[in-house]
Symmetry: C2
Subunit: 349 residues, 2 copies
Amino acid sequence: MLGFAAQSLGIQCMFLDPSQDPPAAVAGPVISEAFDSLDALAKLARDCDVITYEFENVPVASVMAVEADCRISPPPAALEYAQDRLAEKQLFESLQIPVPGFRVVDSTADLRQAAEALGVPLVVKTRRFGYDGKGQAILRDTADADAVVSELGGSGLIAEQFVRFDREVSAIGVRAVSGQIVTYPLSQNQHREGILRVSRAPAEDGRIGAAANDYLYRLLTKLNYVGVLALELFVCGDSLFANEFAPRVHNSGHWTIEGANVSQFENHIRAVTGMPVVEPSLYGFPGMINIIGTMPFDKELFHKSAAVLHDYGKSPRPGRKLGHATVIGNSISDRDARLTGLQMALDES
Amino acid sequence: MLGFAAQSLGIQCMFLDPSQDPPAAVAGPVISEAFDSLDALAKLARDCDVITYEFENVPVASVMAVEADCRISPPPAALEYAQDRLAEKQLFESLQIPVPGFRVVDSTADLRQAAEALGVPLVVKTRRFGYDGKGQAILRDTADADAVVSELGGSGLIAEQFVRFDREVSAIGVRAVSGQIVTYPLSQNQHREGILRVSRAPAEDGRIGAAANDYLYRLLTKLNYVGVLALELFVCGDSLFANEFAPRVHNSGHWTIEGANVSQFENHIRAVTGMPVVEPSLYGFPGMINIIGTMPFDKELFHKSAAVLHDYGKSPRPGRKLGHATVIGNSISDRDARLTGLQMALDES
């Protein structure tokens, strides 16, 4: 999707992707090597004016290795924060962005102390390399502390208060080289088995939109950020708590392709290539459903809901995101009816 | 735009375009040869599963030369009709699609007789190779018949009644290999100096929409057509008169990229590659402005109107279409206000 956005702007891309049949192959040449291949990275740095990434588990060392030879956006520091839940939480705190209470956990004793201080349930996570609900567990009873710590590897963990949120939203913003910042209306997100399933926009209700934007501005400015950043937030009444941020285009913003005058992908490419970014304006009421695990054989089900299918061309695998579909409603109820219809059709297919 | 649509569907394209810096180069390899180069055509036929065209002045002989070796859609017969205004008018008549009165003109005497039979003013056109208002003149006074005939080459002309239309609309339809047909809501078109300037959709008002669709079905079925076809119509009160058809994606349907769940480009690629076509559903109230002659230096003017710019990357030249911009209004008045604002900004730039 970044490649397509770049093409529309007349910018040529090359890609580094170790996977077989990389989806990006439709938009330019692909170097099929590991993210830490020094040869591949040197080739990228030699042939490109700027390097960007859309996966926050790219090794920071890889990015550092080419930083002297090629401009890299977003900045590697953002990648470092995003790869360490502790550093990320401390960054939020330093910017006065509210977060659920947390404690560092490197042993069963640490987790017991955390449970005492913060109460249960607690969400216990590996500090590094977790995504889509992987590398986390819930401690409901202090008696299970040992089992939970063992399950997650014994150390390098963080325990967070379990937030009984009303809903989850994400705030997507983009900062240009010039410092110009624009933001998208909030997306409201629904997960299934830890994986994003549905996003709807706009999810604004006055106060939380303003607060979320304020947090985005603080983060983007503090990191001297260039590109798209997504901030995941819990909404509890009128309060917001930051969950985590992603230094990249975000799944909850995929509706921006059809649902706005400028997609997150175009704005990201604009930012990292030094262009001004564009203030988004929404078309109707967008919604997005992820297609996970298997792609329906009969594509007609998408057309019946007037949904636009994005098929990433990946082979099916349980829990794998194979594509997404966007609907644009004329009203909130029209969008939600289409999403429900499509969701039911997908579940039955 | 066809190339981008094909890429999104996972279909690889190659292009034949004799122009320097062909816009399609961003979407695949380009053979830079003339449309009648037999070598180039043979290469296309050898390397491709299907050949299509998006310019109705491609020589029919070129298309015929490769028809035996490669599937060609739309059918060459449609190209032949579209290249001869007389054959086209006769086709309309045979399908009982109303057309303005017309006479064949191969001499000054013919034009005088036409003026006597049909009255003045008359629109006099070359029967072949006219587009964007080129190759036509208006006869207001029979005394000018000789001058008008000379100006247009002396023969091979057609004289048509000058229709005092209320508005011009275009009907865009697409037919799949299976015979399945879907149509877009009518576009209402405004020209400036013979070149399409603004299109707005939907331009329906009950009766004319149904009649226009009926004409499209007759044409598509009669021609055993595969792909997108655009029918230009004059609206006079409740009556419709066919002006001409284009056997290709059409400028008045460019708003379908942002303004519908499926663009004319995607539906064309679907049709010519043998896929089912998709029933269009509109997003809000789309409008499109062509950018003609020069591209504004300050692209901010597009963003101020939340317009999406498509810059074809062509060098400026008076009367040349260099790009287009799309707006999606929340209402008819919102769309029209944005179009007016953008039009004024373009005129001043």
